[in-house]
């Protein structure tokens, strides 16, 4: 069964949220309508409550690239999605195309996880494959990496993804709000949302590992 068809079935089963997006069906004669979850009330009013209407998935990338204050959303799991718009979509293929711009691959990752075929990558795997200036990131200590998770990840730091990875095969993440987060912003039950899954550390985390590794190196050099 295609990913789009499985997405359609997920919506029929009661799922209506992914990340900060509310997913609605059959609104104003459109099979699918998506908007910021905080605008969900407006989107069901006549003329979509004055929200800016985008027809088709083409504007999804533009809507998801910048936050309200104009800053670049360098990872898509950030909880600073712009409000004030609604996107109407003709079919589940277009819906999937739009969602893959807002939350790249996240529908597919969730379906793979449900099917037991999602492969997770440890932080060490990810860091050991970095090249160029990021090669140094691999020298970060376990302690430093655990600290970074708590300083960078999770909803307290504007990331809505559920971390699936460990430091290495034998080293899980320390208990924290970030490591416990279930990938669903807001207070929705898990049966009503597609969680955002973090199967590998993102490039922002890698960049921060590099900075922390350099700081560790310099601190050691200063001690010597």
């Amino acid at each position: 069964m295609s990913i789009a068809t499985q997405l359609h079935d997920l919506l029929r089963s009661g799922i209506h949220r992914i990340g900060e997006l509310e997913l609605q069906t059959n609104v104003c004669n459109f099979p699918y309508v998506i908007c910021h979850s905080a605008d969900a009330g407006l989107s069901t009013e006549s003329a979509f409550g004055g929200l800016e209407v985008h027809e088709g998935p083409a504007d999804a990338r533009e809507l998801s690239t910048y936050a309200e204050d104009g800053t670049y959303r360098f990872t898509k799991g950030q909880t600073n999605l712009k409000r004030g718009w609604v996107m109407v979509l003709e079919n589940e293929q277009d819906l999937l195309l739009a969602l893959d711009q807002f939350y790249p691959a996240c529908v597919g990752l969730f379906i793979a996880q449900k099917g037991g075929i999602l492969e997770i990558e440890t932080l060490r795997d990810k860091l050991n494959r970095q090249t160029g200036m990021y090669r140094f990131a691999r020298t970060i200590s376990d302690t430093g990496a655990q600290k970074l998770v708590q300083e960078i990840c999770g909803p307290a730091h504007q990331c809505a993804k559920k971390i699936l990875w460990k430091l290495d095969a034998d080293t899980p993440l320390d208990e924290s709000e970030a490591s416990r987060f279930n990938g669903i912003p807001g207070d929705l039950p898990e049966s009503e949302a597609i969680p955002l899954l973090c199967r590998e550390a993102c490039n922002h985390f890698v960049a921060e590992c590099r900075k922390a590794a350099k700081a560790e190196f310099e601190a050691k050099a200063a001690e010597a």
């Binding site: 083409a58 360098f74 790249p104 691959a105 529908v107 090249t131 199967r199 590998e200």
Partner: protein, 272 residues
């Protein structure tokens, strides 16, 4: 070149991407949109080294069992020979990974049709200059990591020099290895100089770093999309007249080069 529709195959466009520059991935998505609009593939997706979705996430967003992978990169070098095959777990032109058949095409930058795109871009940016009094410089990154990284640019310079386009000189120059683009005025024998960045996007390098190296700007500026006023040609610098174009990859026709690489792959590796 026309390509036969592949209604059961996916096209996966691979780019570099950036967590710092919002414009870095724009051309890849533009190329994907353009190809998607033509209805040639069942699916058209993008994935990145430094942006989401990652190369290893891409397989989870594709239904098709057959996937053509085209590196939207300008050279056949470190990324296309080392990083992409490793990330996608490819071991040759065709590899079966977790039940899906991946066909690994050559990067867009090495395709012969790039020559025409460079000449078009040079003409657009400096329509009134006489090529006989003009040096055309194709500029790229350059890296010590892989000697092939500059080959595509050297090849294009040679092809254009031999093409009869009439430029007094056609040169290659780089950010991080000689000949250095920072010395553009010293290497150019003519009063007019046209510089075409052989990059896919107007990202950090072509829009922010190289203008500083050329002397157009004193310090690295904001990203292209965050400027109200784009640079205006020509620039009168170092006693020469300089024309600086946007990156070659922002040319919408690059979508055709992606399709050309798929077509060339089939000719070379598949019996039709």
């Amino acid at each position: 070149m026309s390509i036969a529709p592949k209604p059961t195959s996916a096209l996966l466009i691979v780019g570099h991407g950036s967590t710092e520059n919002p414009d870095s991935s724009t051309p890849y998505f533009d190329h994907a949109d353009e190809i998607r609009s033509r209805g040639l593939f069942a699916e058209v997706c993008c994935c990145f080294w430094k942006e989401e979705p990652s190369m290893r996430e891409a397989i989870y967003m594709i239904d098709s069992d057959e996937i053509y992978v085209v590196p939207d990169f300008i050279s056949e070098g470190y990324f296309t020979q080392d990083v992409i095959p490793r990330e996608l777990q490819l071991n040759g032109p065709t590899t079966v990974v977790r039940g899906k058949t991946f066909h690994y095409c050559l990067p867009v930058g090495v395709h012969r049709s790039m020559t025409e795109l460079i000449l078009r871009r040079a003409k657009e940016v400096a329509p009134d200059v006489d090529p006989a009094h003009t040096t055309l410089i194709i500029t790229g990154h350059g890296t010590g990591l892989n000697q092939n990284s500059t080959k595509a640019i050297r090849d294009q310079a040679d092809l254009i020099a031999a093409s009869g386009a009439g430029y007094a000189a056609v040169l290659d120059a780089y950010m991080e290895e000689p000949p250095f683009i920072a010395e553009w005025d010293k290497m150019s024998p003519t009063p007019n100089v046209v510089v075409v960045p052989f990059f896919i996007s107007d990202g950090l390098h072509s829009y922010q770093d190289i203008p500083v190296l050329l002397g157009m700007e004193d310090e690295v500026g904001a990203a292209a999309s965050q400027r109200e006023v784009f640079r205006h040609n020509p620039h009168h610098l170092r006693e020469k007249t300089l024309f600086y174009s946007s990156a070659i990859g922002t040319e919408r026709l690059l979508a055709d080069v992606i399709l050309d690489q798929v077509s060339d792959f089939d000719k070379l590796h598949k019996s039709l």
